[in-house]
Symmetry: C2
Subunit: 430 residues, 2 copies
């Protein structure tokens, strides 16, 4: 398959995809869900074959868990699609309706982004979730999944594609890239692909960001921090710290660095170290931390490390300001938390920390579209342009300005013959 | 000056800039306006020196007009600042306030993007306008103006900088890059600069887009179209066409291509050609157009040309669909217009055309922040990620998620011990 050619055809189909009614998009989602349910055995068989092959090639158990697509995963994705159908239409929302002058009315109306390329490793359920989000938001999607689940992905894609095109979606609505070399071809399609969403390892996402002119939404790394403030409540702090580090170590929102106010370090660090080491966490820290607790001494420049395993960096700070400066410098602008009972300090920390998520007294692991009540998510963005944090449907739409005139020319306004009166009207449906 | 070093310091100051109250930002704007007014003679003298030097080096008269900064331009920028002061605060707006569970509340709150690099050619008034927009939105700004007005820019920058730092803005709020080689240095600051806004020629913007990893907002070219539909009103159409082509040819929103429905071409084209050639416009077109009117024959592949002068491409089409396909293929997704009295066709054109601005029966020249009632603009974006079309204050902000907890851990929700209840609350001020 020449993917560039296919993507070009998809681009040509994208205005038709964007123009579909909500009814057709929702029906396509329902039909896709029904097709997956009806063909569950085919999906599970393909997944068993993927799992067997992965086991044989020695894939790590933690990764194996992510490859699995069983009855439970199917139920989850089907429920996710049902939730998505119930969500209001993200398209054709009139965000602004303004009469510029008599007979000259401006509307700002939401519309799909167009063609979205999604490149993800492992997790076949991501294929279903992302396809569904793209369909609901009227976007065409090029999907490239990980090779470890190629059999599962192929079955899932074919079932969804057949169902949704039968319900009225254009042929170019979805496309599956199956070969690894097609990633580089996709990265070169900046004239046809409007947005790339890579999901995978730091190295993988970084490679994509460095090798394309297409805008990329997502995050390369998640170096999240917890700062134990001078006014932190030890009782609350310890479970939060343990949860943020150990509840799912491979997640981007797991904590990687603990900063502790020097004034409380003598009490806080031993208690934290006891709980963390008890949960299997290995501690590394500055020389000063190692004077209080037993931990490996690390260098300053290592504080940008994303461990993704049971290891935590520890550092003492003199003030909230020093904690914030450390986070803004070494962090990845993902999610950072202050543990404090002092509300003024909490607000100050939230104001000054330049991250997508700024938390008080709760686990960094809450940074997730589902936990924010967005339904499914396409990913978490650490960029500040377009969408930030967990990204749901809203991040998959843009808008266009529609200007309805009756013969107006700019010359009349430039010469002073006419002037604008800018009256905001109640937004009517476009 | 080592600009990389200066920009790094600016990045460190950006959280303080972001945390300034509206009162301080507005006072800084008022003080900047007062400083410009009080030192008008110094500004005009510098501008006269720039104008003399430009004249000597043979700068074209059309460009000369853009270099000028006189009493009229000063009044305009001062009025612009006064308008900006009156606008509501774009920061600290609570866009979402949701209780995820008891004692666990999520807020989405607007905040500045951080450090914005603006590179513009000519037009010293742009320096004032853009600085003012950045101050109002709490962003730090690196400004690089054109060398033709370096004297004017220097005086304007120094007056504004001195005034706003005296009113409480941090030292790193603004920075002027004066050397041409500093552009490349700035393009390499992807760890410190969050957004680049280039304003200038196609080639200039393209160079910037191709040579940085920093997100770029703006447009390289403006190949705008007018499509005369089968149901177009000739009386309305001709003045719109003449205005869109001739009112300001050097603008990105001037029309470059006329598409005419074949069924009306016999009447429409001769009338349009008469009016356009009467206004000094040279016509180029397909062989078929040249059979109806006198025009130079051009090749299909030339239809992506942005003339920016009194030249217009002409083509006949069979249908609205063909017009849209041509625009989506050859256009630059800037602003495109349908001339029609058939509302169904207008809506269809607006739905299918993939441009920031889709117009009916009015000049493409309306595509402008001031004419949309946004006050000043930082530029017009043809990208679909982040802001699209004319970009005012809103395009200079992003948001962060603040999560206020009281000890919550994810483990309790994963195990089923607790569950989310997602209650949207009335947005309270953050």
């Amino acid at each position: 398959m020449d993917i560039r050619n296919e993507v070009r055809k998809m681009k040509e189909d994208s205005p038709a995809m964007a123009a579909l009614s909500l009814e057709i998009r929702n029906r396509a989602l329902a039909d896709a869900a029904a097709a997956l349910t009806a063909n569950r055995e085919e999906i599970f068989a393909a997944n068993r074959a993927d799992m067997d092959a992965a086991k044989e090639s020695g894939v790590a158990p933690a990764v194996m868990k992510r490859l699995k697509f069983d009855e439970k995963k199917l139920t989850d994705v089907i429920e996710g699609i049902a939730d998505l159908i119930r969500l209001p239409d993200p398209l054709s929302q009139v965000q602004l309706c303004r009469e510029l002058d008599e007979g000259l009315t401006l509307q700002r109306v939401t519309c799909p982004i167009g063609v979205i390329g999604i490149i993800f490793e492992a997790r076949p359920d991501a294929l279903v979730q992302i396809s569904a989000l793209c369909i609901k938001s009227g976007n065409c999607a090029v999907l490239k999944g990980g090779k470890e689940t190629s059999r599962t992905n192929k079955v899932l894609f074919n079932l969804i594609y057949k169902a949704v095109t039968a319900s009225g979606l254009p042929k170019g609505c979805m496309l599956q890239a199956e070969q690894h070399n097609e990633i580089d071809e996709l990265l070169s399609c900046h004239d046809c692909v409007d947005l790339l969403i890579p999901r995978g390892s730091n190295q993988f996402v970084q490679y994509i960001m460095n090798n394309t002119k297409i805008p990329v939404m997502g995050h390369a790394d998640g170096v999240c921090h917890i700062y134990a403030d001078e006014f932190c409540d030890l009782e609350k702090a310890i479970p939060i710290l343990v949860d943020a580090k150990t509840q799912y170590t491979a997640a981007c929102n797991a904590v990687e660095t603990l900063l502790v106010h020097r004034r409380i370090a003598g009490d806080f660090l031993p208690a934290a170290a006891k709980a963390l080491t008890g949960a299997g966490v290995k501690l590394r820290g500055t020389k000063e931390a190692a004077d209080i607790i037993s931990c490996e001494v690390m260098g300053e420049e290592e504080f940008n490390t994303e461990y993704l395993e049971l290891v935590l960096s520890v550092k003492l700070v003199d003030s909230l300001e020093e904690a914030v400066a450390h986070i803004n410098r070494f962090g990845s602008h993902h999610t950072d938390c202050i543990l404090t009972e002092n509300q003024e300090n909490a607000l100050k920390f939230m104001q000054l920390t330049d991250s997508a998520g700024v938390y008080q007294n709760c686990s960094t692991r809450f940074a997730d579209g589902f936990r924010y009540g967005f339904g499914a998510e396409v990913g978490i963005s650490t960029g500040k342009i377009h969408a930030r944090g967990p990204v749901g449907l809203e991040g998959l739409v843009t808008y266009k300005y529609k200007l309805f005139g009756s013969g107006q020319i700019v010359g009349d306004y430039a010469s002073g013959k006419k002037s604008f009166h800018f009256k905001n009207l109640d937004a009517i449906s476009s």
